[in-house]
Symmetry: C2
Subunit: 202 residues, 2 copies
Amino acid sequence: MLNKDKTLAHFCAELASSSPSPGGGGAAALGGALAAALGEMVVSLTVGKKKYASRESELLALGERAAVLREDLLKMIDGDAEAFAPLARAYSLPKDAPDRTEILEEALRRAAASPVRIAELCCSVIELMEGCAASGSLLVLSDAATGAALAEGALEGAVINVKVNTALMRNRSFASALNDRMDAMRREYAARAQAVRRSLGY
Amino acid sequence: MLNKDKTLAHFCAELASSSPSPGGGGAAALGGALAAALGEMVVSLTVGKKKYASRESELLALGERAAVLREDLLKMIDGDAEAFAPLARAYSLPKDAPDRTEILEEALRRAAASPVRIAELCCSVIELMEGCAASGSLLVLSDAATGAALAEGALEGAVINVKVNTALMRNRSFASALNDRMDAMRREYAARAQAVRRSLGY
């Protein structure tokens, strides 16, 4: 069963359990999807209002981007679980298995790539919130601010889930370059998310 | 249908729609529930391990608190929708309806009380993460850090949803006292969530 077809209660119960997935990466992906959905809500409650008619085409474009981001982030809950499976298998190899080191290293790269993608999508959600804050109806701007807050938390969560993998990589130059990239991403986009909230007075 | 019985895809689609609820408060509540579930996951993956046997009773207490917080936050998705309904009704009263001002003020207080409760629960989740970071297995501490990040985002989202209501209250001393309380809560607990992440090296 796809994670997006589970009920909220079921998904949270699985997250709480000792099963390896869903885990932190999947929770971050869902947090990002909630933020994207709030962006869509801003659009849904602004489009069609006379007062905002001049922004119609811009709003429709924002709404389309938001819907794609919501879907992509919901899919990444499963993507994260799939990316983690080879790592779990690699860890269960006997310590003296041939190629264990290489298999583990490759599994760590694959497991890291999924939260990298989730982090990138969360950055796109923060860009979306900048558009929603600029073009949304005054009545629903708190939802754009809330979306920015949730996307920032999800981005932070995704970055943590990259770093838990890079910490274990043997190729330190690859690991360190990826860590630097994530730190730069987090710095820039956390500041942009906070700027969205501040610009709306929150 | 209770929100917790909706699928992730269905809930996100409703959030994205122009229907008044679920909205930002409900999304923040779900974000907090995901964080609480990550705390439980830390406990689930630590309890029963020989290495952590001396922390068993502390871990079980953390796990029980996490399960209660998860349930309470999932319930608050519906609580937030119920608290918003009287406000929507108050706004639809004719401008010259008798007692409109008093009815609206009372509805705003009620609508604000729900995200206040969500914010308080998110603070409790951050306290839970402090416990998880201190007592959880080394192998799952990234989930405690992720939980702290998601709870911080959810707390921020809840505070925004209090302030969207206090901004419209006529009783400015009540509104301003509540804003101050929320700012103090956010300041203290955002710092504590960040300290959890830093203490774990993220």
